[in-house]
């Protein structure tokens, strides 16, 4: 297991608890499933440690509206790589709700999906391989393609915008 973020392997600094688990001490950084966050919101926000929320497929990221500033991390679970709901959650969180914290893909996270995840706003990836392998995979995946048709919130220039820019430059040159 290794987590890659910002072109490096990072430490796991978060404890994820399930619905029924006891909460760790108040100083620990804690991630809870969305349902538990909704139930125990005030208690959880009152703890000392960092707080994050885990979204499973079927959850509504909209439920976190109003609390995003208090969350340092949101993990989105891809139980199987074929379950693509998390891509929509990523875009909704980043592009619509303006989430600025860490957005981590967990679960069945494979090399061939990482670029898509990145385009949908994810900035960290929890892979089931050792650190060096994980870093190599993420690096390779992120530079596999260089042309993008869809505008997302990832800041990459689309083919459409590059075409426009080129056209403008040529018109300027001609005049």
């Amino acid at each position: 297991m290794a987590i890659v973020k910002n072109d490096s392997v990072i430490e796991q600094e978060w404890i994820t608890v399930e619905a029924e688990d006891d909460l760790p001490s108040s100083d620990e950084n804690l991630i809870v499933p969305l349902a538990r966050f909704k139930e125990q919101r005030d208690d959880l926000l009152g703890r000392n440690g960092g707080l994050g929320v885990l979204l499973n497929p079927g959850d509504a990221p909209e439920d976190l509206a109003g609390d995003l500033d208090r969350l340092s991390i949101i993990t989105v679970n891809f139980p199987a790589y074929t379950d693509g709901r998390g891509y929509s959650y990523g875009r909704v969180l980043r592009e619509r709700m303006g989430f600025k914290g860490e957005l981590r893909a967990i679960g069945d996270v494979l090399r061939d999906q990482i670029l898509l995840m990145h385009r949908c706003g994810f900035d960290s990836y929890d892979l089931k391989v050792d650190g060096e392998t994980a870093l190599t995979k993420v690096r390779a995946a992120l530079k596999e393609m260089s042309v993008y048709y869809q505008p997302t919130g990832d800041g990459r220039a689309t083919a459409l915008s590059l075409r426009e820019r080129r056209r403008a430059a040529m018109e300027q040159k001609a005049s």
Binding site: Y81, Y87, D112, M117, R119, M145, V147, Y149, P151, A159
Partner: protein, 551 residues
Amino acid sequence: MYRYDDFDRQLVQERTEQFREQVKRRLSGDITEEQFRPLRLMNGVYLQLHAYMLRVAVPYGTLRCDQLRELGGIARKYDKGYGHFTTRQNIQYNWPKLDEIPDALLDLANVEMHAIQTSGNCIRNTTTDQYAGAAADEIEDPRPYCELIRQWSTFHPEFTYLPRKFKIAVTGSPNDRAAVKVHDIGLRMHYNDAGETGFEVIVGGGLGRTPFVGKTVRDFIGKNDLFSYLEAILRVYNRFGRRDNKYKARIKILVHELGVEEVQRLVEEEWAQIKDGSLKVGDAEIARYIEQFAPPAFEALSDDDADFERHKSESRAFSNWVRSNVIEHKQPGYAIANVSLKPIGGIPGDATDTQMELVADLSEKYSFGDVRVTHEQNLVLPHVKKADLFAVWTALEGAGLGTANLGYVTDIIACPGLDYCALATARSIPLSQRISERFGDLDRQHDIGELKIKISGCINACGHHHVGHIGILGLDKRGKEFYQITLGGDASQDASIGKIVGAGFSEAEVVDAIESLVTKYIDIRDGGERFIDTYRRVGMDPFKEVLYGDR
């Protein structure tokens, strides 16, 4: 016609290289077949009964002559000298070797083609009217919008792992030749009250084991807003479509279970939040795409051509072909020539390498280098001068491509069936061949008139049997093939799903059963009524009786 620019070219080249690496990893044993599967599927490579199959995308069914020539070349180089045109306006090769597929993809990339998203649970190749830009009844050429949809949907990062595959069809004509009502999204161009053109948006149509005619979620969406609206529909589907059961995962089930009003509410709510975002496409941008599909340099001609008329009166075979296969063009003096891939007794949709090359040559010489693939598995030369039709027909006839049966009983849609497909429960091709032979006589076909027979070799309905005037579904009963007949299906603007007549027939009986239905129709039809019109007038009973008597 649309030409790739450097961005499009680079994207396809990068993809080709990526797949070459993936094949290398597979062949060296680095990855298992199971791990390789999703990767190959995203590149149109299926594993069939006997071999890998490569499905190549023909975006909105439009080909340039050099592209069709290359498709012929690929058939010769990597296959057994033929290819199979599909109901999704694509082409499939049935016998490529895995280690050679990257080379085939490179050859395709060199003519601006690829196999991207011809499989997998993603947005598939967008289909449209095969007569786009040529049809006399068209409001506007739909292809500029299809090309914009192609780009928007290619490697869409959010919509590559949808609950299930997703198909979009567009028609620019009120006479729907793209079957838009039986697609996940159907777009029908029309005018709003202000006289602007835009699209009716139909959602949740589909065939397969649970056929539905799509329902309208929005009567009119302006062109600038089309792409944000599509994105809204796809996001709703991606988030809320069922994933617990593969057979209930298409958007048609979501529409069926939630009701169209609720789906509409979700889509409109989503759309309200993104409609003014970066997916809004400006008029100038749309105009650039319309320019790409500008009409070719037609000559100003009289609509009547004396030589054409003379050839018709001199050659009965030619005039028969004109009668069935030639369709009115919007430009005076020109015509749309359909090339039938349904020779009597042949395999529907198959074309050999040299046939493809011949049609490519004819299109270059006579049709501004433009060729179309139809969802009914034929080819089209869309812009032929009437004066050239005789020369075109003579050349086609010499290559076995001059069959005069467009829309007739032998113009059968059939899926590959158990001869190739790993999912099939029965054979489709031999049955279509037998029906074709039974009704091969041209005078008889003329007499029967328009009659669409569609054959699927399993419940997945790739042969569109639900929307055949006569549909045939091949099933397996204790190791024996048998065939269920449906009547009254229609894929046009009057779309309807066919109804099962009764118990199925054995392979030996089914051709006779079809003949009985046709004979009954001829007995009871009113004047120039088509089979489907008669069925709609008299209903199922007279046909049922002729098949089963009192049974």
